[in-house]
Every structure is written in structure tokens, then in C-alpha cells.
């Protein structure tokens, strides 16, 4: 079979486009001080940041699942006025500069924020500059990915399976847990992984809302940024770790759930 000739101009532009992404990654790999890798990775601050990052991003994913799945279900299944507006509002952080998100969070949950002032005066606790604040900032930025993915899954599933379950005497809860959730499993998983990966890389909203305190709010991306000033080699190594995690997630998703077309 004769292969179709690909226009040379397209190839050239595509090559430049690909190089634009690959060169920086290559730079990271080549310039990383591999000799100091173990030392950098086992430094207490690194371990601390890594542990905090994992804890906060997994918590954000859990919160996203608990709150995001019901939202997605309502967007997919309930018709009500203002639904499109509400969906736009709850997915706004996908396009909002994260720093703006952080400032907005401060104005709502900060010590003098809309809800934060009341929380502070009534219960005496504050959210900004705490680990809980990190989870909030990450959830704020990452949950929209989960909402949209799960909503798409709910919309594309064949609802007649739910009807079949009802004719078999299944309560609404049983229909949801035994039929709906398993059938949208791939979307649920993809949404959760996207949400988790986004939370893991979160920087702007976190540093704005939660600050940068080692062991409390200093996640990996924050540590990388800080180390850039004091210990460049270590920051390169940590960057590489984040890069690898992202790559594994992306490749894994594509193969297992997103279906390489």
C-alpha cells in the first residue's frame, strides 16, 4: 500500500510544536544533578513536602468525589432554571488564574471573609494558612475537572439500565450504587485521577490562600519554587518527580480509560 505523502510544511510546523514541549522536559532530565538525587529526595524538607502533597491532593480528591458527584448528577439529571449558569460558576476555576482563586477564597474564608469571620468568632478557628486551607485551595481548583468528567459520563450512560433495575425492585439508592456508579466507573475513575493530578500540581491558589509554611502548607510545587532560590539542584530533582507522576497518570489514563482512539 502506498502511503499518502504528508505535506512537508505540516511536518516542519508539527516538529517545532513537538520540540517546544519536549525540549524543556529534556532540559530537566539532562541538567538534573543525578548524583545528588538520593540526597535531595531524602532530605527531611522534601519528604515533608511530598507527604503533605500526597495527603492534601488525595484529600482534595476525596472531597471532590463526595461533593462533585452529586453536583454532576444534578447537572446531568435535573432540569432547573439557571443550571447552565451554576455549572459555569462551579467550573470557573478551570479557566480562572489560580492566584485569583486564592484571593477569592481569602475573601470568603479568610479571618475577615464572608464566612470566615463568622467561623472565627463562633468556633474560633481559621482556615487560611493551615493544612485544611491547602486542601480547600486544591479542591477549589481541581474539583471542576471531576465534575465535568462525571457529568459527561452520566449523560452518555444508557439510563434504561436504571429502569431495568427499578423493575427489579431496586430502591433509588440501590439503583445509584449498584447500577449507575458501576456503569459510569470509567468516567468516575478518569475524573478522580484528573482531579488528583491537578491538585498535586496546584500552586497559585495554595500559596495565596494557605501560604508557604514547611510541614503545614508547603506542598511539592511550593517547595520546588522556594528551592529554586536556595538550592537549584534539589528543585530540579523535585520537578522531575512531579513530571514523572504527571506522565504516568496521563499515559495510564489514556491506555486504560480514555481509550486511545
Amino acid at each position: 500500500m502506498r502511503r499518502e505523502r504528508v505535506p512537508i510544511v505540516v511536518v516542519a510546523l508539527a516538529a517545532i510544536g513537538a520540540a517546544f514541549f519536549i525540549l524543556p522536559l529534556l532540559g530537566l532530565v539532562v541538567r538534573s544533578p543525578w548524583g545528588d538525587a538520593v540526597k535531595a529526595l531524602t532530605a527531611p524538607e522534601t519528604i515533608e513536602a511530598l507527604k503533605l502533597s500526597l495527603f492534601a491532593s488525595l484529600s482534595a480528591t476525596a472531597v471532590g468525589l463526595v461533593l462533585g458527584v452529586p453536583l454532576a448528577w444534578i447537572y446531568a439529571r435535573v432540569e432547573f432554571p439557571g443550571r447552565d449558569l451554576l455549572r459555569a460558576l462551579t467550573t470557573l476555576p478551570m479557566v480562572l488564574p489560580p492566584v485569583v482563586g486564592g484571593i477569592a477564597l481569602l475573601l470568603a474564608f479568610g479571618r475577615r471573609g464572608l464566612l470566615g469571620a463568622w467561623l472565627n468568632s463562633t468556633f474560633g478557628f481559621t482556615l487560611p494558612f493551615t493544612t485544611a486551607g491547602v486542601v480547600m485551595a486544591e479542591t477549589f481548583v481541581a474539583m471542576p475537572f471531576l465534575i465535568l468528567t462525571v457529568e459527561a459520563g452520566l449523560r452518555s450512560m444508557d439510563r434504561r439500565y436504571e429502569e431495568a433495575a427499578r423493575t427489579l425492585g431496586a430502591s433509588r439508592w440501590r439503583v445509584f450504587t449498584r447500577v449507575t456508579l458501576p456503569l459510569i466507573g470509567p468516567s468516575l475513575f478518569a475524573g478522580a485521577v484528573l482531579c488528583w493530578a491537578r491538585a498535586l500540581g496546584e500552586f497559585g491558589a495554595t500559596i495565596t490562600f494557605a501560604g508557604n509554611f514547611p510541614g503545614v502548607t508547603q506542598t511539592m510545587p511550593l517547595a520546588v519554587y522556594l528551592l529554586l532560590e536556595t538550592n537549584q539542584e534539589a528543585s530540579f530533582i523535585l520537578s522531575l518527580v512531579l513530571l514523572l507522576i504527571s506522565l504516568v497518570v496521563l499515559v495510564g489514563l489514556r491506555h486504560r480509560w480514555l481509550g486511545s482512539a
Binding site: 444508557d158 434504561r160 439500565y161 429502569e163 431495568a164 433495575a165 427499578r166 423493575t167 427489579l168 425492585g169 431496586a170 430502591s171 433509588r172 440501590r174 449498584r178 447500577v179 458501576p182 456503569l183 466507573g185
Partner: protein, 333 residues
């Protein structure tokens, strides 16, 4: 429309596509709300728009076999069959035991651990039936149970289905657009067109005395409607047909295509009905030829291929047709 199904009866709801059969079935199941009307089962009110009563689908004692079965793809065959029992509070163990029993009954015990995707169409149909029957419903609803199968397996599955339907003691309502399926499976037919009931009766009654053009076409007979008086049926604004029998008033007249003879010259003899017309279509069906003739009212005649050859008839040709008054079946409209 209103109809009642007796204890232990198999009723087929027959009608052309878009007649509202599936909607009716879904309404009986409670999957779509009634705009007005009522559904009673064994004296229990399932839904009544007049009094506002409504029993949700999951609380109705029904089993539903869907057209494409809708077996849960993520569950094993066993778990599919056990699903209804588990939903209604049977313990995991007891539900599994009963599901195995049902799978054995439909001859699929060996496939208990398989996923629905691994089964053939006919096997899936049997699993769907077992799943619907396992919780012991009072009413079994089947929506085009054979439509998803290819022609080669359909006859076999139909026989199986008939067998399983016979062993189930509750009320059975089958929706179909296939008259063969309806006649094979049901004790009684309910014929529905455009949301209205047009005829109900045993398969023999319905096929012998069709009461709509749709049923007449299914059975393959000529159906006329007119006013009978003194041995003839006068059609509104059309010809009259000589018919034996003493009926009078509004009647249907049915003429079997085999009873209609075709001639190239005006025939002479005993037949009381002799019309002139034009052959509008000629179709070979097995060892018969069906000739559609445009005359005062369009009629179909059925002849053998050799008779057609002798007549030297082609589409558009002029013909005379005749049929005896004794071959016209007349019954009140």
C-alpha cells in the same frame, strides 16, 4: 383504550410500529406516568390518575423483559438473575441459590460466572427472562422479546420462550409487531393502532374476522367495509358486493385472495361478483403469485405461477376478476 387480562392468561399486544405498544407497557410498569387512566393488578390499584394514587415501579410486583434485554454489563449472569431478589431483601446466599436454580431451568447454569457480553443473543434473552421471573412477579411484561435476534435463532428461541411462558403461572403481557410471534405465544391478542384498541380476541377469532386494515394486511386477506342488505354489501360511494348470508347493517366483508379468480376476458358463469380492473403489481411469494388489482376497490388475488403464465399478464395489464358470493365472509362491524 381499556383491556383486562385474566388470571394465568398470555396476552399479546400487537400493532404497527408507533402504535403506542411500548408506551403502554412502560406505563403498566410505572416507568412513565399516566396522563389519565388507571392500572389495577389483582384488585390492587397500581396507579389511578383520578385519585392520584401511584405505586412506584420498584414496588410493583412485576417482571420486565426489555427488547434488548438490558442485562447489567458489569455483573455476572448469576448476579444479574439474583439482582431482583437482592433488591427485595433476600439474603445473599438464598438469592444466589435461587438464581442458580433459575439458570438451571433456562439451561444456562454453566454460564453463571460469565458476563452478559460473553453470551449469544438467545442466551441473553433467557437470562433476561430468568432475571425477570426470579423475584416471582405477579405480572410479566415482555417488550418485543425476539426482535433483537436474527432470523435463524428466532424460531428456536420462540419455542423456548413459549415453553417458559407456559410454566409461569402469573399474568403475561407480550408486546410485539410480529403476528407470527403473537399467534405463537399468546392465548389472546389485543390489537392496537395509533394509541387505540382496534380488536381483541383469540388468535383464531382475530385472523378469521379482522376488524382493521392493519390486521387484514397481517393476515393477508382483502377487507371491505359497507352496509349489508338482502345479500349484498354496499360500500360508501363505491360498488356493491354480492355476499351470501343474512347479515344486515354495518359490516366487514372479508375475501381471501385465493378465492379471487383472474381472467383476460369477461368471464361468464356462476360467480356473482365480476369486476374489471388493472393489475397494479405482481409479486412472487413462495409458490404463489399475489396480484394487486386496481378496480372499484383495490383487491389482491392469489394464483399459481403457471396460471399467471397462461394468463400472459404483466403489470399494468387489463384483467377481469371474479369471486363467488359464498366466498365473501360477512360479520358485523
Amino acid at each position: 383504550m381499556e383491556f383486562t387480562i385474566g388470571e394465568g392468561e398470555v396476552v399479546a399486544l400487537l400493532g404497527p410500529n408507533g402504535a403506542g405498544k411500548t408506551s403502554l407497557l412502560r406505563a403498566v410498569a410505572g416507568l412513565v406516568p399516566l396522563r389519565s387512566g388507571h392500572v389495577h393488578l389483582d384488585g390492587q390499584i397500581l396507579e389511578d390518575t383520578a385519585s392520584g394514587q401511584y405505586v412506584p415501579t420498584e414496588q410493583r410486583p412485576i417482571g420486565f423483559v426489555f427488547q434488548d434485554y438490558l442485562l447489567f454489563p458489569h455483573l455476572s449472569v448469576l448476579d444479574n438473575v439474583a439482582f431482583g431478589l437482592r433488591s427485595r431483601g433476600t439474603s445473599r446466599r438464598a438469592a444466589a441459590d435461587k438464581a442458580v436454580e433459575w439458570l438451571d431451568r433456562v439451561g444456562l447454569k454453566a454460564y453463571a460466572r460469565a458476563k452478559p457480553a460473553e453470551l449469544s443473543g438467545g442466551q441473553r434473552q433467557r437470562v433476561a427472562l430468568a432475571r425477570a421471573l426470579a423475584p416471582d412477579p405477579r405480572l410479566l411484561l415482555l417488550d418485543e422479546p425476539l426482535a433483537a435476534l436474527d432470523v435463524t435463532t428466532r424460531a428456536e428461541v420462540r419455542r423456548d420462550l413459549k415453553h417458559h411462558l407456559t410454566t409461569f403461572q402469573g399474568i403475561r403481557l407480550v408486546v410485539t409487531h410480529d403476528p407470527l410471534e403473537a399467534v405463537a405465544l399468546a392465548d389472546r391478542l389485543v390489537v392496537m393502532e395509533k394509541g387505540h384498541l382496534v380488536q381483541t380476541g383469540t388468535p383464531a377469532e382475530v385472523t378469521e374476522r379482522p376488524r382493521s386494515q392493519y390486521v387484514a394486511d397481517l393476515v393477508g386477506v382483502n377487507l371491505l367495509r359497507g352496509h349489508a342488505e338482502r345479500g349484498s354489501v354496499q360500500m360508501p360511494g363505491g360498488p356493491s358486493v354480492a355476499a351470501a348470508g343474512a347479515e344486515s347493517g354495518e359490516v366487514f366483508a372479508v375475501i381471501h385472495p385465493r378465492a379471487v379468480s383472474i381472467h383476460r376476458q369477461r368471464p361468464e358463469g356462476s360467480p356473482r361478483n365480476v369486476w374489471w380492473g388493472r393489475a397494479s403489481s405482481i409479486e412472487l411469494m413462495g409458490n404463489r403469485v399475489r396480484v394487486r388489482i386496481d378496480c372499484q376497490v383495490p383487491l389482491v388475488a392469489e394464483v399459481t405461477p403457471s396460471a399467471l403464465k397462461e394468463l400472459d399478464l404483466v403489470e399494468g395489464g387489463d384483467v377481469w376478476l371474479s369471486f363467488k358470493a359464498t366466498d365473501v365472509g360477512v360479520y358485523p362491524a
